[in-house]
Symmetry: C2
DNA sequence: TAGATTGTTAATCGATTAACAATC
DNA sequence: TAGATTGTTAATCGATTAACAATC
């Protein structure tokens, strides 16, 4: 299955690499303002606390070609990573659940840099419906299917309480959503051809806590 | 280095395992209400779309012993995973940056299940300082050091804009913070003995977008 | 007992790291 | 030229998966 993927889709990169590339990109863009023309793997690795060989491999995965001795031309490197990550392909998304997390995601401009544009939000609360959040309209949830279809939206962001996640996911998929970014801490069941990216802060917290507890106990 | 860690700290588990255990826990707690007494790896794997052998390995890492043929006693499994994740060790944390993401984190009760208790928030905005968010006081940022020291807080959550992240991290560390959960999309530099858990939604978005674009292109 | 599931050891797979050649 | 850095191939390491024995 995974080997087939590589052959069929030219997936010549790994998920860990894919997760690091945006971090390089955010870092490289900050360098752009500093009149830096060239950057080397070792410099990137040093600034981001990574292994320089890993950085080189990652950049290679993104099909970027550098110059021995000088490194990578900064602007070219940025553009190439952006192309690899399809940052210039604008993907419109809708968000369901305009709670604080929903607000935070609606207000975060950084997603634009990666091609994601959240065009509308949905909620049930009369306090929110009809208002704008960061220039984006909040609609009543009963308009969900209509707007997804009318605007041909294919990406849905789920920021509803756990108990509603499955129901809303089903409605999204029925209306034409092809990929779901799920922030509810429950697994949602969808058809095989629907992509689900599950975000669970508890996982990160567990890593932090465990490292923390080990560190503390070591000092006793 | 890593092998030493294993020997010195009994770190007989991997980070991927550590990230999956909270997901099992959230799932298992939902089963508790359904009068289920025993659960098998294959059942868990089936419900969470994972490999049953992987689930068995993960549970083994958490030092849980099951019964052949019947599986794991549900309540015992929950308690053992909680113990492994140190959920009963209460860690108090403060949060800096009471924007929407900060609000979302302050309002999320799920962290309590993993032992994290956010006891106070800090911001500069007069609209927020002096108010309560979800029973937690918002203090002015100039009280940061005083309160960290007075309450002996060791965990800090960073939800400030990127440009302030380093400065606030430095102040946290100087005041006694030992672990930082950083939601700003910049790397922060701290002393080696300070733990930093970096959260970057752009990484997840990149994974989602790439899968999505591959899926779409495949259909053309 | 038979069968299902855990426990444990071995094999595979893939990501990271290392080594060294190529090159500006 | 010499040296630094990329490019490319090989080695290592660790996570996942498989196989099979133990057991209720």
């Amino acid at each position: 299955m995974k080997n087939q993927d590589v052959l069929e889709n030219n997936m010549e990169y790994s998920e860990p690499t894919l997760r690091r590339l945006p971090i390089y990109l955010q870092y490289l863009k900050k360098l752009e303002n500093k009149n830096i023309m060239f950057i080397s793997c070792s410099q990137i690795a040093n600034d981001l606390n990574l292994n320089p060989i890993q950085v080189r491999k990652d950049i290679e995965s993104a099909k970027v070609i550098g110059k021995p001795k000088v490194g990578y031309e900064l602007k070219e490197l940025i553009v190439n990573i952006e192309n690899f990550l399809c940052c210039h392909i604008k993907n419109e998304a809708i968000l369901v659940g305009a709670g604080h997390l929903g607000y935070a995601l609606l207000g975060y401009h950084g997603f634009r840099d990666f091609g994601l544009d959240i065009v509308a939000a949905f909620d049930t609360s009369p306090d929110k419906v009809g208002k704008f959040i960061n220039t984006k309209s909040v609609f009543h949830i009963n308009k969900l299917e209509e707007i997804i279809k009318r605007m041909n939206i294919e990406i849905g962001i789920l920021t509803v309480p756990s108990q509603y996640a499955q129901e809303i996911a089903d409605r999204m998929v029925n209306a034409g959503i092809k990929a779901i970014w799920n922030f509810a801490p429950v697994k949602i069941n969808v058809k095989d051809n629907i992509i689900v990216q599950h975000e669970n802060l508890a996982s990160s917290l567990a890593v932090l806590s465990k490292k923390f507890d080990l560190q503390i106990n070591k000092n006793i």
